[in-house]
């Protein structure tokens, strides 16, 4: 039995530079592994790229980049993805980048799309699409066939989305600037919906340590309200048998398991396996609360265990009402 005290939280918060309330939450979630968890958030990961097979075959691009001095290591399970161990040039400024040969993208974000499994005969909706890392991978897996509806509400971010769609040679997208919660008004019947929800972004602390200090307890509640609206809208968009993948880059169960638990009660959804061979199971109890047992099928990724930023993925299927 681990006894956690307020002074533990303050000590660890001071040691790792967090607000104390965050560490208190982590102690409740990770218990005796909290120190390891916090250490893991301070480690750096190699950057990753995804070769755009709409533009160039994978071996050809690998050869080109290696000839320029890049050291690339394959990423297990993602044939088009590489960790960049050494780069003599800025990855975002090579001719190959400008030609749309690759995208700088985290493996976690690629896994979310792999779990969605889009096909070229489908209508896929990407609800919070900007800046387009996942949308462009959806198009790649669909081989530019079928159709993608991509939305984002932000005027600035949607410009990045458009730029990336163009650079990455995506030809099968229709982009709407709108609140994704209003998407059901369009009357679409999607085969697959990707909801990478706006979140506190705690999982990105390894990439952006300022997040150790930038959030308040109220953020979880505020964002959960947005996430609930979006997941209900996502479920409405789906045809029967269609799949919805919900993801966030947050560790917070309020933004993950609680949202899915809410959706299971409010919408005709059931959780199905992600078929990912790694990742921790979703939580079914936390902070003294209990959620649907099928949430164990969701997947959690932690920097200290899985060598990537924190991420949550859950796959659901629409059932008859």
């Amino acid at each position: 039995m681990i006894r956690v005290t307020i002074s533990d939280a303050h000590r660890l918060a001071k040691k790792y530079g967090y607000k104390a309330f965050m560490v208190e939450r982590y102690l409740a979630l990770f218990k005796d592994q909290t120190d390891q968890f916090l250490q893991g958030n301070d480690q750096e990961f190699p950057k990753a790229i995804r070769v755009n097979t709409l533009a160039i075959p994978i071996p050809e691009e690998k050869k080109r980049l290696e000839a320029k001095g890049f050291d690339l290591a394959p990423i297990d399970g993602l044939a088009y993805a590489f960790h960049v161990l050494e780069s003599p040039l800025a990855l975002g400024a090579t001719t190959e980048y400008l030609l749309g040969h690759y995208m700088l993208q985290s493996p976690a974000s690629m896994w979310a799309v792999e779990v969605l499994g889009p096909r070229g005969d489908q209508l896929v909706v990407d609800m919070c699409a900007a800046p387009g890392g996942k949308t462009t991978l959806v198009a790649q897996l669909m081989k530019n066939q079928g159709a993608i509806v991509a939305t984002d509400i932000s005027r600035n971010r949607i410009r990045s989305l458009r730029s990336n769609l163009s650079r990455m040679r995506v030809e099968n997208s229709l982009v709407m600037r709108m609140d994704a919660a209003q998407l059901p008004d369009l009357g679409l019947q999607a085969d697959a919906v990707l909801l990478d929800a706006p979140c506190t972004g705690e999982g990105l602390i390894p990439l952006d340590p300022s997040r150790k200090q930038s959030r308040t307890p109220a953020d979880y509640t505020t964002l959960a309200q947005v996430q609930q609206k979006l997941i209900v809208a996502g479920a409405k968009l789906l045809r029967k048998g269609g799949v919805l993948v919900y993801s966030t880059c947050s560790f917070a169960p309020e933004e993950n398991e609680e949202i899915i638990d809410f959706a299971l009660q409010e919408c005709s959804l059931r959780i199905i396996s992600t078929n990912l061979p790694f990742g921790d199971s979703g939580l079914t109890t936390f902070f003294g609360r209990e959620v649907d047992a099928s949430l164990r099928l969701a997947r959690r990724f932690y920097p200290y265990k899985h060598g990537m930023e924190g991420f949550f993925i859950c796959k659901m299927e629409k059932q008859a009402a």
Binding site: A55, G92, A93, T95, L98, L99, G100, L123, G146, A147, V149, R155, I158, R159, S160, R162, S163, L165, S166, R167, R169, E171, N172, S173, L174, V175, M176, R177, M178, L186, G187, L188
Partner: protein, 180 residues
């Protein structure tokens, strides 16, 4: 040119005259046959607003477009370019298609140094061209390719005596300078 700003566009099919202007804008770069291949299974949509933006839309996207009306998309299919005063200014989105089908008289091949300079927005001088007989290249709009034959952008070629110069009109470096 590329559109770096957001503006609301009202979409609809182009008029016959606008369609003619759009086709006319592609013909200096690629053959009529290549224009037909691009358009035969697709349809054109014109987004009218502060700018007039032309899009090439596949059948599945066209159905979606009709479904989402009266809402208008922000972007759809392939952004072909901007229609300005009756002239089509081709986009970076369609550059790869144009480069793959480029007329010999509308292409300029840049050497490695020229490639880098062009991608920084600079013009190209004769010394930066590589492996081609410039006498066959016409003055006017050209596509600039690197030595591997990959499209880097658009330029305007001028000849003055023995000097040939390509003024940069739009290059892939736009994605870094303005596209983020």
């Amino acid at each position: 040119m590329q559109n770096g700003k957001t503006s609301r566009l009202i979409f609809g099919p182009p008029s016959e005259e606008e369609t003619r202007q759009i086709r006319q804008g592609l013909v200096p770069f690629i053959s009529e046959e290549a224009v037909n291949r691009l358009l035969e299974k697709n349809r054109l949509l014109l987004g009218r607003g502060r700018r007039n933006e032309v899009f090439v839309v596949s059948s599945p996207l066209w159905k979606l477009y009709e479904q989402v009306l009266p809402r208008h998309p922000y972007f759809i299919g392939i952004f072909l370019g901007e229609l300005r005063k009756g002239e089509l200014l081709p986009s970076l989105h369609v550059l790869n298609y144009l480069s793959s089908n480029i007329r010999p008289e509308a292409k300029i091949l840049a050497d490695d140094k020229g490639e880098q300079r062009f991608l920084y927005g600079h013009s190209l001088a004769t010394s930066e061209f590589v492996g081609q007989d410039l006498s066959s290249v016409k003055s006017g709009s050209v596509v600039v390719l690197n030595a591997k034959g990959e499209g880097l952008g658009y330029g305007h070629l001028t000849k003055s005596g023995v000097k040939t110069q390509v003024k940069n009109r739009l290059d892939l470096g736009w994605y870094l300078r303005r596209g983020r």
